[in-house]
Symmetry: C2
Subunit: 215 residues, 2 copies
């Protein structure tokens, strides 16, 4: 498989974590989103939506959208399972994942920050505040769900890593990029810390990628 | 089951369509998002995130996030199936669905439009333009994927209704609320028209709900 990736992409981070958890190696191609390389014809031919991640299967079929890719990986390589076996548990894990994927992250993608700057002429501090507001809001929503729910364990759902943890980690890391702090999110912070002890998460971190800026 | 709903909520629209397709009846409770009733303690006790939909099972468990609820309904009531049987097809359907759920819709929710108005002081015409831009952009991304793909049929994926069609319909209807037009989206428009011929879609339409404004 080939993965089209960018170090800072939170959606690609989720896919990298899942690939690591499943022990699947990919050939990686960097698409520099900050330089606008997603608009190059050669990438547009891979994903007409011009966003990463895109996962190209060995037969040439292209998968896109991080949640769809995560579900695919869990179906074709079921161990370790990233969804519980019961329908209600699966719904809970998917819902927690979607808070990150569909409520928080979409508000801070490069195309949205570009529109705020160039179309609405929002200042840099106000854009940072915008990003912290939505990323933090999604994390607060996750905290509200997991803090007192007895289904929460060492991780978001019991004591096994699920898609909810993969998405929680991407959300916390992204929140940090925008200067967010974790005081009001003790359960999220506890689970994130545990996730990051796992090499699958640690090695997927944006700053550990070959295309990341050097410290 | 009990459904917490609001006529204009696009996420609840998706759940209503799926419930209709599956032939599942629910007891409905209206949460007036435009009047701020999602912040009332009695609803916050149901969904601490204060968003609809929320689906309360007969044993009292609460499901949230439209995509998680759609997957749950498809698991517990498998016919008619809303996902294909092959993993790549499932990934394609979920990805098309996520373009609506995670790329388009999150930019135009009431809380985002409220922030644009009250925190960033964006004018009403510029807010409408914002909403059309993101809703139309997601539909253009869907069009880019489905227009030339031989996996597309009468519907987004072959000739059976899937979650992609459910989400496409919600996206087109929402786009219309913000004054969007369909000239550049022929495949999306064709599939949407076919969906709306189906009573499960037609009866779920926002303007057909008891809490909708009277014409």
């Amino acid at each position: 498989m080939q993965l089209f990736t960018f170090w800072r992409s939170l959606a690609t981070l989720r896919v990298r974590i899942a690939l690591n958890l499943k022990g699947i190696k990919t050939e990686n191609h960097v698409v520099d989103l900050l330089a606008g390389h997603q608009a190059r014809p050669e990438f547009k031919a891979v994903n007409p939506q011009m966003v990463v991640p895109a996962l190209v299967l060995d037969d040439g079929q292209v998968l896109f959208q991080s949640m769809a890719i995560l579900e695919y990986l869990d179906e074709v390589q079921p161990q370790p399972a990233l969804l519980p076996t019961d329908a209600v548990g699966r719904a809970r894990v998917r819902a927690l994942a979607q808070i990150a994927v569909a409520d928080g992250h979409p508000l801070v993608t490069p195309r949205v920050r570009h529109y705020l700057e160039h179309d609405l002429h929002i200042s840099e501090p106000a854009r940072q505040q915008w990003s912290r507001h939505w990323m933090g809001g999604a994390l607060a929503a996750m905290e509200g769900h997991i803090a007192k729910d007895k289904a929460t364990g060492l991780y978001c759902h019991g004591d096994q890593i699920t898609l909810a943890d993969v998405c929680l980690a991407s959300q916390v890391i992204g929140f940090g990029f925008f200067g967010g702090t974790m005081e009001a999110l003790p359960t999220v912070a506890r689970i994130h810390a545990r996730c990051m002890e796992h090499s699958a998460f640690a090695n997927a971190h944006p700053l550990k990628q070959p295309d990341a800026p050097k410290p």
